[in-house]
């Protein structure tokens, strides 16, 4: 027997999903296909002549040592951002989980950085670390550290990593706190009676039980570091000094809008798009399903 409710055909369902579909078409599918088409062209800087070159743009990219460098730099950057922001978030969430009084205030304060626009976040850090005016660089000088991220490559990288991680801490914190609070209290108490101290409980009980959240956040943070950090880089270092913070997404902008290599820039953004699609697939295929415990 067919146990399904049949509704008469109507246009309502199509109408209801139409806004979503239109948004996706106009703001994603259309520009994405334009980028894909563009990546197969070589155009002069003024757009006067266009030549269809198949995959020459990609070929050039893969042979360019600078591109490979930027690729490795991006990996290292996103790894550091994810590790730093998730590490901070998990510690803060661990504290917040134990707070009873004033929990709401504490949590609200921790969530605020998420509401700060990337460029502003970058600007905040630029001011604090400004070699001549910055308060933190002033203190660092007291410790004998000569801070100048305009000249020092690793300081520049460290600063953008810090700024990018700081902004993501709030997001990770929310997820970690929710995950920790979903662990039954009695399980923690049972571990306490079994003789495990707070640290031991964290590593042997809490951390394994929130591992699905950790996997989810690794993907989210990697995607964030790959794409959403443009504003921070632009405000803090603009890819410098000497390209030391020129990560892939910044290079797309730089090559396309500063260098006016439209085809090459489009090819780079197509590669980035493939990367994020791959990460999303990983997220859905393996991580979401592997809520293993």
């Amino acid at each position: 027997m067919l146990k399904r409710v049949h509704f008469p055909t109507s246009y309502l369902p199509y109408l209801l999903v139409a806004p979503q579909i239109i948004i996706t078409l106009v703001f994603f599918i259309w520009p994405a296909s334009q980028a894909m088409y563009q990546s197969l062209l070589i155009e002069d800087a003024f757009g006067l002549s266009t030549e269809f070159v198949w995959f020459e743009n990609f070929q050039v990219l893969f042979e360019d040592p600078k591109y490979l460098e930027s690729f490795i730099r991006t990996m290292w950057f996103s790894g550091a951002v994810a590790l730093l922001s998730m590490g901070m978030a998990i510690i803060l969430a661990g504290f917040a989980d134990r707070v009873i009084r004033g929990a709401m205030v504490y949590r609200t304060l921790l969530i605020w950085p998420y509401a700060v626009a990337p460029v502003l976040a970058g600007a905040l850090w630029v001011f604090m670390f400004n070699p001549t005016l910055g308060i933190i660089s002033y203190f660092l000088e007291g410790f004998g550290i000569d801070w100048n991220h305009y000249l020092n490559k690793s300081q520049a990288m460290g600063l953008v990593i810090m700024a990018a991680a700081w902004k993501q801490v709030a997001y990770n914190f929310l997820f970690y706190l929710a995950a920790m609070q979903s662990i039954p209290k009695s399980v923690i108490e049972a571990a306490a009676i079994d003789g495990a101290g707070p640290l031991k409980r964290f590593w042997t009980i809490v951390f394994p039980l929130i591992s699905p959240t950790t996997f989810f956040l690794i993907v989210i943070n990697a995607v964030y570091a790959f794409f959403d950090t443009f504003g921070i880089i632009h405000a803090v270092t603009q890819g410098g000094p000497a390209g030391s913070t020129n990560i892939l997404v910044y290079k797309v902008y730089n090559d396309g809008f500063v260098g006016l290599d439209l085809g090459g820039s489009a090819a780079q953004s197509v590669i980035l798009m493939i990367l994020v699609i791959a990460m999303t697939v990983v997220q859905f295929r393996f991580v979401e399903r592997k809520v293993e415990y």
Partner: protein
């Protein structure tokens, strides 16, 4: 092995006092059940003994040592939780071995103890499984196993049977009792189920509203309830309570004018009599108008009211009886089976 001493234990959350000075001595190897309705503070009391709640004032001693400020881990106790609280990501074996590993016990010894406990509890076949692959009863056994392997001097049970279905509950109840007798470990068991309490405990502590109503053996509580609350809480179906007035000659007068032998006192009293202690009698002092009867096979429950009043009465007669609804019957009870309580304080009048 250890005795437990509760000395004037008090617990308050802010301005709200939930336990108002609990006293009690629990002997070595004894099985004590803390019983009471929801919200009476019984779980809080257990958690204070476990060290999961702070003590506001008073003292908890285990084995003669004051443990108020000791961490749960240092109190030499093991606890079985209502929702079992198994570690979901560990196998049954690891669940049981966890506490032993932390205490740095040798691998071979851990293996011996876990296997032994698994054998006692008949969960040897599931040692490699994760808790989610077990049924409720099996999880319950694992939780018990985790307590046993630690070889603690006190077991604490926080309503461990309330998540099981009725049949399994009866079975596990017996098993817990047998296990406790076999191991001889001092145990405290919290429940709201008076049948569970009566069958399990060597002694029962009846809690109500944060006060200990009575602390004694199941039979003492049944035969000699010290308060109206205990009288009504212990026994099923519950005791009948009839308002009455004491007379000078040591008898009491019911609201319908019938006179019943009583105690020497004055003023209003509450007369209690258990449904199973009422027997049909031609000249019985309780005239009952039958409203409904329930045939249970082994016994028959008669629901009615005391004639001339609206005091509800229940009578439990052994075997089957064909009594028509609306009939009027007389019942009597032996004088020593009548209980008298002060109507205002609820305390027993000797």
């Amino acid at each position: 092995m250890a005795n437990i001493k509760l000395d004037n234990l008090l617990k308050s959350y802010g301005d709200t006092e939930v336990l108002h000075g609990v006293n009690g001595d629990i002997n070595d190897g004894e099985f004590v059940v803390i019983v009471g309705p929801s919200g009476c503070g019984k779980s809080t009391l257990l958690r204070m003994i476990a060290g999961l709640e702070t003590v506001t004032s008073g003292e908890v001693s285990i084995g003669g040592k004051m443990v108020n400020n000791l961490e749960p881990a240092d109190r030499d106790i093991a606890m079985v939780f209502q929702n079992y609280a198994l570690y979901p990501h560990m196998s049954v074996y690891d669940n049981m071995a966890y506490g032993l590993k932390i205490r740095g016990i040798a691998k071979s010894e851990i293996k011996r103890r876990v296997n032994e406990a698994a054998e006692i509890l008949e969960i040897g076949d599931y040692l490699k499984r994760k808790p989610r692959a077990l049924s409720g009863g099996q999880r319950q056994r694992v939780a018990m196993g985790r307590a046993i392997v630690r070889e603690p001097s006190v077991f604490l049970f926080d309503e461990p049977l309330s998540n099981l279905d009725a049949k399994l509950r009866v079975q596990m109840r017996l098993e817990i009792r047998k296990l406790q007798k076999r191991l001889g470990v001092t145990s405290i068991f919290v429940t709201h189920d008076q049948v569970e309490a009566m069958t399990l405990g060597d002694r029962l502590m009846v809690l109500n509203g944060g006060y200990v109503e009575q602390f004694g053996t199941p039979i003492e509580l049944y035969e000699n309830p010290q308060t109206v609350f205990v009288a009504g809480f212990i026994g099923s179906p519950a005791m009948n309570f009839i308002p009455a007035t004491a007379r000078d000659d040591g008898t009491v007068e019911l609201q319908n004018g019938d006179v019943v032998p009583g105690v020497a006192t004055t003023g209003t009293v509450t007369l209690g009599v258990r449904p199973e202690h009422l027997v049909p009698h031609d000249k019985g002092m309780f005239q009952i108008k039958v409203l409904m009867r329930e045939q249970l096979g082994a016994n028959t429950l008669i629901h009615g009211v005391l004639k001339g009043t609206d005091t509800e009465m229940v009578v439990s007669l052994a075997g089957t009886h064909d009594i028509s609804e609306g009939a009027e019957m007389r019942f009597s009870a032996a004088k020593k089976l009548l209980h008298f309580f002060d109507a205002t304080t609820g305390k027993r009048l000797s």
